[in-house]
Amino acid sequence: MIQVVREQKGSISVYKLSGNISEDTHFDDVMGPSNPEMEINCKGILRINSMGVKAWIKYFQTCQKSGTKLNFSECSTAIVEQINLISNFTCGGTVESIYLPFSCLSCKTELSGLFKTEDLKKMKMNLPTLKCTKCSGKAEFDDIPEDYLAFLGQ
């Protein structure tokens, strides 16, 4: 099930989404009507299935048609994968920041690091390493950069 927490930051309505998005997700009910400026924080989304993708696109396309400015922030790996798989997943919105997956070379722990998409564009696939929070070892980006960051080139 999806959980939505809504906050207001000036003129921007911020929606913090967490959980799984599926055929049981009714965006109209959990998000309410669209607002002129919406920030969708996707940090807590673990999974989204095909019916969830359909519901997502249907809802955000309606927002797009009504002139809403959409901004997706802190996109989890599950959301980044969909952005890359479905060309119109963001429905005309901008992707402000995403989580990159990392893996510790010593203890194999999975980590994630938040990056602004503007900064990633400047890095040109030269991604930094992180310090493992568990063993202080070196953690490197654990995906195929050309796949995971494909949407940056679109």
């Binding site: 099930m1 799984n20 599926s22 055929e23 049981d24 673990l46 999974r47 989204i48 299935n49 095909s50 019916m51 993708v53 359909k54 696109i57 249907k58 396309q61 790996t77 599950a78 994968e81 890359n84 798989l85 479905i86 060309s87 119109n88 997943f89 997956p101 893996s103 194999k108 999975e110 654990d142 995906d143 195929i144 796949d147 494909a150």
Partner: protein
């Protein structure tokens, strides 16, 4: 045509039509697993001739390019006829360097049974794994996940009586993977793929069987559907490969539609929401693109078992690059 000598001629054969050394290594491993007798040739006519003479042979064909494929298809058409009994798609395996979406000439082929994307880094290990699939398929009768893994792994089967139990089932699959030390991201990825298979079994299979329509969704309350609504989930793990399957009891899978769905890439074309249909139409495409191998075993009007295979890797990027295939086994 080169092949092993001695009593090998009495065995069922695996004909390899390819000039590529890695295909020979791959096929040799498959033969070790299956007991098939390997016959290698680079000549299309010779391979097709062998196909016509041998009893129930398996054939591996280099399908790297459209030209290679067309040569084979034309030769089969001329010598045997595309719809000849000798041409059994279940036993025809095309070896390629690409994904299904990059090879439409194969995805749309009438004679496609099995689509194998080569693993240039380890033809031996991939051949050993694929050998299990070929072994199960060469029996010539429907099989399930436990027969693919045989004694290599313990298989668990779970009966799911209603789609309302789907979420709990998915969490159980994820917990199983985490307990077996799969990384959280990989466990989520696999769980998502299982979700798609379960939705296909609960929603798409009765639709394809003509037992319901988009208008009746999601209330699956027709008598016939309630009799056949149970879905079986099987899990198997041998320490290296995890297999999971979902079985519905409609047997309504259509190969042409299946391959069309798998081969579609929505990163290049826009996804259009169809309000008139209940399903999304993108599930199998997502499953295929997000990793793992697929095998569909379908017995018409009886059952369809959709199987997924994933190799356990330390790193996610290796998980994504793993050896893959899309296999279809249809029994009428």
């Amino acid at each position: 045509m080169s092949g092993n000598k001695g009593n090998e001629s009495l065995k069922k054969s695996l004909i390899l039509l390819s000039e590529r050394p890695e295909d020979k290594v791959f096929a040799e491993q498959v033969c070790k697993s299956t007991g098939l007798h390997l016959k290698t040739t680079a000549e299309t006519e010779e391979a097709v001739q062998a196909l016509s003479q041998d009893a129930h042979p398996v054939i591996f064909v280099d399908g790297s390019t459209e030209k290679l494929y067309t040569n084979f298809e034309e030769s089969v058409g001329k010598t045997l006829g595309i719809f000849s009994e000798k041409v059994q798609p279940n036993a025809i395996h095309f070896l390629t360097d690409d994904e299904v979406s990059q090879a439409p000439f194969l995805a749309q082929s009438q004679i496609l049974g099995n689509f194998v994307t080569r693993d240039p880094e380890d033809s031996i290990a991939s051949g050993r794994h694929y050998g299990r699939i070929v072994k199960a398929a060469t029996k010539g009768t429907p099989f399930d996940l436990s027969e693919v893994f045989q004694k290599d792994a313990k298989t668990q089967a779970i009966e799911i009586e209603s789609v309302t139990h789907k979420q709990k089932t998915l969490e159980a699959v994820k917990a199983y993977l985490l307990a077996a030390n799969w990384t959280p991201r990989t466990a989520n990825r696999i769980t998502s793929s299982v979700d798609e298979l379960l939705m296909n079994a609960f929603y798409d299979a009765p639709l394809a069987a003509g037992l319901t329509s988009d208008a009746t969704y999601p209330s699956l309350n027709l008598n016939e559907i309630s009799k056949r609504a149970n879905v079986t989930l099987r899990l198997a793990f041998d320490g290296v490969y995890f297999g999971v399957s979902v079985t519905d009891f409609y047997g309504s899978l259509d190969k042409g539609r299946l391959m069309k769905h798998i081969a579609k890439e929505f990163s290049k074309s826009e996804y259009k929401v169809k309000a008139s249909s209940f399903n999304a139409g993108i599930g199998l495409s997502i499953v295929h693109q997000t990793g793992g191998s697929l095998l569909f075993m379908s017995q018409t009007n009886v059952k369809t078992e959709a199987m997924l295979f994933f190799k356990k890797t330390d790193k996610f990027k290796d998980f994504k690059r793993q050896f893959r295939f899309v296999s279809t086994q249809f029994y009428f």
